[in-house]
């Protein structure tokens, strides 16, 4: 016993040591601590190390999890994984500590007479299936819905899609990735006809400039940011932080340029104006590889229920586009963007210099935007006009927030409009799905139904009578939770929640299903650089906790669809992945075989002839290019990418006399999303125990607000009380406040607005008008 306690204490000391080394690495790129990180764990520990991807964020760092006597006891970065090369961030190092949390969900809970009763899982699944069946019989297929996650594994997303779209025959399936990267998807599809970035993380080793658009990578993607800092030190690469708030990323960058919220649209156009005006256009590239189009403007903001929008693209020529840009000279844009003419020209000159390689990174700042698709299009315009795309060190690169937002939400397609290959509106895609799923083609509906926001509006209206959520916490993460919490609490909807821990959303459930955490099951994730990563089950889950995929299969069997789900409990991950791979066969999206993924720390698709494709659309690297040219944007029928004419339009709600501040929300390095995992990790919780509201010091002074004082932040929708933070983590511009959303005790999303991009349907969490008062 004494030896065991000594080992545990020694292990904790090692964890503390690694945390400090990680912090030092983010402050001093290239810092060396001899062989300490390799020592890892006490010498007398007998650990079995197994590889897998990290559970947090979309970077997809490779981790090695050390297990001893059936328990996960240590984590270290996988030195063989090209993503992180052995590095991990503070969340990554500590991730396994959350599964030891005392309030783990270990058994199914069923609400009876207002109280949760521990119930055998089999009985709870019977109830879920019966409720689903009964709802469909009485109210129709579209009265049942499923809301999944970018944290669901590829097999879980695939089975969810097959169950809802193929077996039941409803498109009432959407996921929380709608809230974080749907605008990137819509941007890639409208410009290139193919989703996901064309480049890979190796771009970091080649770029001369990294321009981050509204993206605090030092906190949200710290391992990638460390790699950028390393290149800054080694090669003199430059980092330009372009944002609405000064953050750790800004202070570590070579330049920080701040802009007024929403005006990124105008600045991107101003950069294009300058590129054309100064003759920096790569004429050969755009003549061979680009078309010009415009779409509908003044599309609204989706604020009303049942909002519908379809864009109507119209081809234009280069001269019309040039004429349109005349409204976006740096001099004109500077007046409302609060970015100097000099800085706009500085940014344009970086993109315009043919001898400099530029990667643009973005995440929520550009995506959570009421014109998110446009903003994505505009950034592609810059790279297309200059021909800086699909080459090592040159390209636009959208980062994701969840470990499988790409692999599961985007590639498997757990959105209402998606199928594992293509979209529900396309007959050819429906026929392929029907063939692989062995269901009648007519079974898959041809129209999308509810995207995330509209799905919870439908719950509130009483149109959806049954909803099943997995690995997500919508009552903390949706915008305007003040409406959707009340909506889901109504008796009209039967709520099933599968999760690892109790949280705000499970508090309103009729049935809570205990889910396995990621290392308690086998699975696959897909990260931001199109890398698919597999891991084997490492430890047993406690009690009756079960993989979500297997719970879907069990319910499918109870609904009478057993023959469509003939998978075995032991090998269902492998069987499902092999079935799913059929959707992507071919040079454009081929997925690596499972035996390769089991051996390696992931492979990038398209995986062709035993090789990952690192840069798509470039004939030098991508075997799917068949037009005989250097580049081939084969996602579009004519092989050409689209340069979109997209104007600046105002945000739906701007500060005024009554609500004088912009509210911006986001994340912090210590916590991951709604905090349900990281707040159960003592070291992370202690480091950042609660949310706060950041002020610019001038605003705080004018209002007589001091650090730590409680402040009520109110909008037209709701309010939230938080302690003030001045000159601490970040610095908002004057007239703006910032609040992180991880704290379920301080629900800032009661305050946010549920306006969304009409094309991507992704909400804007970065801009609404609020007032502040001392309480």
């Amino acid at each position: 016993m004494i030896k065991s306690d000594t080992n545990r204490r020694s292990f904790i000391k090692k964890m503390a040591m690694l945390s400090a080394m990680t912090a030092a690495a983010s402050m001093f790129p290239g810092i060396l601590f001899a062989t300490e990180q390799e020592k890892g764990i006490p010498k007398d520990a007998n650990l079995d190390w197994k590889k897998g991807p990290c559970r947090f964020c979309g970077v997809g760092c490779g981790v090695l999890v050390g297990t001893e006597n059936g328990k996960a006891v240590a984590v270290k970065g996988d030195p063989n994984c090209s993503v992180n090369k052995g590095l991990l961030c503070v969340k990554g190092y500590h991730q396994i500590m959350c599964i030891q949390s005392k309030d783990r969900l270990t058994h199914a809970l069923v609400k009876k007479n207002g109280r949760y009763e521990k119930t055998p899982l089999s009985e709870a699944l019977d109830l879920v299936a019966n409720k689903m069946k009964e709802t469909i019989q009485v109210h129709g297929k579209d009265a049942v819905a499923m809301y999944t996650s970018g944290q669901s594994t590829i097999p879980e997303g695939y089975v969810a899609s097959k169950l809802m779209k193929g077996a039941i025959g409803t498109n009432n399936l959407d996921c929380n990735a709608r809230l974080c990267m749907a605008s990137a998807v819509a941007g890639f599809l409208t410009t290139f006809g193919a989703d996901e970035p064309m480049g890979c993380y190796e771009d970091i080793d080649h770029a001369d400039y990294f321009i981050t658009w509204g993206n605090n990578m030092a906190e949200m993607h710290p391992v990638l940011f460390s790699r950028m800092l390393e290149q800054k030190t080694r090669r003199g690469a430059k980092i330009i932080d372009f944002a609405t708030r000064t953050t750790r990323s800004s202070t570590a960058s070579d330049r920080s340029i701040l802009f007024e919220p929403q005006t990124d649209l105008a600045i991107a156009n101003a950069i294009c104006y300058e590129i054309i005006k100064n003759g920096w256009v790569n004429k050969t590239f755009i003549e061979k590889h680009c078309n010009f189009s415009k779409g509908i403007t003044n599309m609204g903001y989706g604020l009303e229920d049942h909002y519908k929008f379809s864009d109507k693209p119209e081809k234009i020529d280069f001269e019309s586009y040039k004429e349109f840009l005349k409204d976006y000279s740096p001099e004109k844009v500077s007046k409302y963007s609060k970015v100097s003419v000099k800085d706009i020209k500085y940014l344009a000159a970086i993109y315009g210099d043919p001898n400099k390689k530029v990667v643009s990174y973005w995440c929520m700042g550009m995506n959570q935007h009421t014109r998110g698709t446009w903003m994505n299009n505009l950034l592609y315009n810059i790279h297309l006009l200059t021909g800086k795309i699909s080459q090592p060190g040159n390209g636009p690169f959208s980062l994701t927030g969840q470990p499988s937002a790409c692999g599961t939400a985007r590639e498997v397609g757990t959105f209402t409009h998606k199928l594992p290959k293509g979209v529900v509106t396309n007959e050819k895609h429906r026929r392929l799905a029907a063939k692989i799923w062995k269901v009648p083609y007519e079974q898959i509906p041809s129209k999308p139904t509810y995207h995330a926001t509209e799905m919870f509006r439908a719950v509130d209206r009483g149109d959806i009578k049954f909803i099943w959520t997995q690995a997500t916490n919508p009552l903390v993460s949706l915008p305007k939770t003040s409406r959707y919490r009340a909506g889901i609490e109504q008796e009209s909807c039967f709520v099933v929640v599968s999760d690892v821990f109790p949280r705000q959303t499970s508090d309103v459930a009729d049935v809570i299903l205990p889910a396995s955490w990621h290392i308690e099951k086998s699975g696959l994730y897909g990260n931001s650089e199109r890398r698919t990563q597999h891991w084997d089950k490492m430890v047993e889950a406690p009690g009756e906790a079960t993989p979500d995929a297997w719970m879907f299969i069990e319910v499918a069997k109870r609904l009478g669809f057993g023959e469509l789900f003939p998978y075995s409990k032991e090998n269902h991950v492998e069987e499902i992945y092999n079935e799913y791979r059929q959707f992507h066969e071919g040079a454009k999206h081929g997925m690596a075989p499972l035996e390769v993924l089991k051996k390696e720390s992931g492979a990038i698709w398209p995986y062709v002839n035993g090789k990952s494709t690192q840069w798509r659309f470039n004939a030098k690297y991508d075997p799917a290019c068949t037009n005989g040219e250097d580049f081939h944007f084969y996602g579009k029928p004519d092989g050409k990418a689209v340069i979109w004419q997209r104007p600046f339009e105002e945000a739906p709600e701007k500060p005024n006399k009554e609500y004088p501040f912009w509210l911006n929300t986001g994340r912090v390095i210590e916590h991951w999303h709604t905090g349900s995992m990281t707040r159960r990790i003592p070291v992370l919780h202690q480091a950042m125990p609660n949310a706060y509201v950041e002020f610019h010091p001038d605003d705080a002074k004018a209002l007589g607000i001091r650090n730590g004082e409680n402040i009520k932040v109110s909008s037209r929708r709701g309010s939230c009380v938080l302690p003030a933070s001045i000159n601490e983590r970040g610095l908002p511009t004057k007239g703006q406040i910032f609040v992180p959303f991880f704290d379920e005790n301080m629900l800032i999303n009661d305050v946010t607005l549920d306006a969304f991009c009409p094309i991507s349907k992704e909400p804007d969490y970065k801009k609404c008008a609020v007032k502040v008062e001392k309480v």
């Binding site: 306690d5 904790i12 964890m15 503390a16 080394m21 030092a24 810092i31 601590f33």
Partner: protein
Amino acid sequence: MPIKSYLAHAFTGKKEELLGALQKINQCEVVPAKNEDVIVLVTDTSNEIEEETLKERIEAIDSLKILSLVSGFNPPQN
């Protein structure tokens, strides 16, 4: 039984001096960076009072420029 980790920043050219001072303290475990004036410090004490006293003692070292807390654990004694 707190275990805490810190980054101890030394004044320029004083890293070895700081390292020596920290190594003399029983409850401290140190790993110096090879190429920066920074030392990773892990403290292991019996209770919060002892931890506070230790912290005061460390902060009194002349060669120490800044002591910044990175993480803290408080595992049970048994």
